[in-house]
Subunit: 453 residues, 2 copies
């Protein structure tokens, strides 16, 4: 086994609800996404295949992407239902012993004390396997479920996120690693000298502390982010241990990778301590032609309006207000979430009608990974060697078969090539990812305030 090759990390992307636009409709899809068994059985498959982690995204609303109405999302099952991801990763942690468990919480609609406590709790209960995907959210409907008239502008969202991360990491550091003594003879439980309030006072939020939970096994649960805009990249380069992204081409993936690692180095961080995982949605078949045929099954299931609903949700722009058989109107791509700009630009370049865009986008799969296990493994190795990725986030087109096929076909192929583990070497998610455990006080190196607050 060639040991000089760079090892690949694997994350699995699973909604707490049906997958994608038509995931629930696919003939192989398990309809049990409101039951515990659905999640625990996939988790067992992923752990047997030695995945680094399972990741659950989140959205705090039924999308109101078309004409301000939630009805299309309900009718098509697009972007809804979405369960609370925290109970989902909790139950997954209870039936696994190595798999990392990562879920998403927004800095816009929750409080740092609550988020710090949830992930510290999960880190304790899972024995050091928890991670938090930090999002600033992007739908007006989410703001409206939390008493706000509309989504705040991106700079304001990231300003709040910055304070939020500083407060959360300081809460995680409010107990030292040795603060719990628990000496029954003397009756001393904690070393109060080493437990500190944080007395954080920001412009957007304030927290007194200390946290009611001792420092957790990983020091900080793994911090994940997926910023794509310049603000988002800077934020991720400072705070994140893992970065998810989505690219339509190898070129844009390489640009993103180099840019974020350079930003990290500029902030004084070791770029190797940030793992970048582009999203891919492999479609496996004995040959590329058969994989394309398999993909056509999806295309036939996708209603163009469901595709436009998903797109409207991602780009916050409703195309159904225009003639579906006409060309794309002007869309201000600066206002669009970073990763999705490429989508709009590509559609314009290829001259699609709005209806064609809906069909294409509804059935679109990330990373163009269609083919045999060997072909997909070739592409994964190519991306890593080209400097586009430290690993991948595998999106299942439908659950559970897409994960099962990846586990049965691609994982052994990667293991044969010596680029993926055959056994877990450690027990914590940081160990799987090759990330060191942050010392107490690490937040000073990551916060924009640098500890000056």
């Amino acid at each position: 086994m060639p040991t000089s090759k760079k090892r690949i990390h694997l994350a699995a992307f699973m909604n707490a609800g049906p997958m994608g636009t038509v995931g629930w409709r696919h003939p192989e899809a398990d309809p049990g996404f409101l039951t515990a068994e659905y999640y625990t059985s996939v988790a067992r498959t992923l752990e047997a295949a030695k995945f680094d982690l399972v990741f659950i995204p989140d959205s705090l609303a039924v999308p109101r992407s078309l004409g301000g109405s939630f009805a299309p999302a309900v009718t098509h099952g697009a972007g809804t239902p979405r369960l609370d991801p925290i109970p989902v990763i909790s139950i997954i942690s209870a039936v696994t012993s190595r798999l990392g468990v990562v879920s998403t919480s927004s800095t816009g609609y929750s409080a740092p004390y609550s988020v710090a406590r949830s992930y510290a709790t999960l880190d304790h209960l899972s024995g050091g396997r928890a991670g938090w995907n930090v999002v600033t959210s992007f739908q007006d409907a989410e703001a409206q479920n939390y008493g706000q008239p509309a989504l705040p502008a991106r700079p304001e969202r990231y300003a709040r996120a910055e304070e939020f991360l500083e407060a959360v990491t300081r809460l995680w550091d409010s107990w030292g690693d040795d603060s719990v003594i628990a000496d029954r003879a003397s009756g001393v439980f904690g070393d109060a000298e080493t437990v500190h309030a944080i007395d954080f006072v920001g412009r957007h939020l304030s927290v007194q502390g200390p946290l009611g939970v001792p420092r957790s096994p990983q020091g900080y649960p793994v911090i994940v982010q997926a910023g794509a805009s310049p603000e988002g990249r800077d934020f991720a380069a400072r705070w994140s241990d893992v970065i998810f992204c989505s690219h339509d081409s190898l070129e844009s993936a390489v640009e993103f990778y180099a840019d974020v690692k350079r930003r990290a180095a500029d902030h004084g961080r070791d770029p190797d301590q940030i793992k970048i995982l582009p999203a891919i949605a492999p479609i496996l078949a004995p040959s590329r032609a058969e994989a394309e045929e398999k993909h056509r099954v999806f295309e036939r299931l996708v209603d163009p309006v469901a595709g436009l609903s998903r797109l409207a949700y991602h780009i916050n722009f409703d195309l159904t207000a225009y003639d579906l058989d006409g060309p794309l109107p002007d869309i201000d791509v600066q206002g669009v979430q970073g990763h999705y700009r490429e989508v709009v630009e590509r559609a314009r370049r290829t001259g699609m009608t709005i209806r064609q865009l809906g069909s294409w986008y509804g059935a679109r799969t990330e990373g163009d990974m269609l083919g045999s296990a060997a072909e997909v493994a070739d592409r994964l190795e190519l991306w890593v060697e080209a400097g586009a990725a430290d690993g991948f986030m595998v999106i299942a087109t439908q659950v559970p078969t897409a994960f099962a096929e990846f586990a049965e076909q691609v994982v052994p192929e990667l293991q044969r090539r010596g680029v993926f583990r055959e056994e877990y070497e450690g027990t914590t998610l940081r160990e799987h990812l090759g990330l060191r455990r942050p010392e107490r006080g690490e937040w000073r190196n990551r916060a924009r305030s640098g500890g000056a607050r």
Copy 2:
């Protein structure tokens, strides 16, 4: 088996952290309260004993009960650590199949969309076993962890709680029981006609809806509350399915029971659809004398300052500012949480010094249930027959042995007497408790607005 007797319901009170003032110090206490195994193993014991539910309380701060400092709480392990209860009940639900799982969330420091979603999720994932203990919180330190200078006054807390419950129940009702169609052939996932926004606009909070989670197995997860003040009793009588309380005497328990059931009837509810469960902390031994000896083990472990810290936390009044060997100062019992007024009154009546009160309160066990299994069973039956209880919330003085002893000794005794189930008759928590499943729209019968909003 005499079947005419009223059946008793049993809940188990378990902190997401050490028990009581000295629970961690007790020689039989499992020190693993930061691990999953601690909770899952107790849950298995409780399910084997056919308990209705396990209940996890919550507190959103390290108590700053003495001189505004959190140090005594850390030093004594009194009221801290406290994990997030939602992951705890999630993992419990994953290793059990019948036991009800109830945790606590405050209406003061979270948002209705989040709370509605968490418990609806748990209700789906557990197959209809979830419950929410509604609290309005009572410590300044909690407010200060959420950007507020101090705890709002009780009327304001209950005014917000009222809006919160109306919003949450309406979110639970935003999908109908038949809204999910999931017809693969036609591609129709949901019946959008039957899914409604709630457009709730209150004085304290606003929520648009609909919830991103379909109506859950129990319709509404079981609603639990423990109000003791007149405001709290009125709120509980309208909203609750289950009411927890704490009484030092049978007389006060009878008064409370009659008052709350009458209030429920006044609001047009069937009083039998509200289950009142006083807290008890049994200490079991072959005889009462031996049980008292066993209790003395606790008393010796309790530092009077730890006891005063616990009391200060419960009554929001710091007695360490006074001479510990002097008498109680004047305490405004109207400002004190209802259940704890009795404690203050009793201490004054018996002429304890502050130090004696600290020792006594730190080792105090609810309900005066010391003795053999037969004696404890006698008292439980007496309380039920006297009209003080529909069942009990069993507090473990230490985990796991106190639960194990109750399960091994008292449960079989109650079963022999025909007052406790030998097998679960149903699968949902509502079925265990003999509570009917609320129809969609039930919130109108419970909300003060009566649906006029």
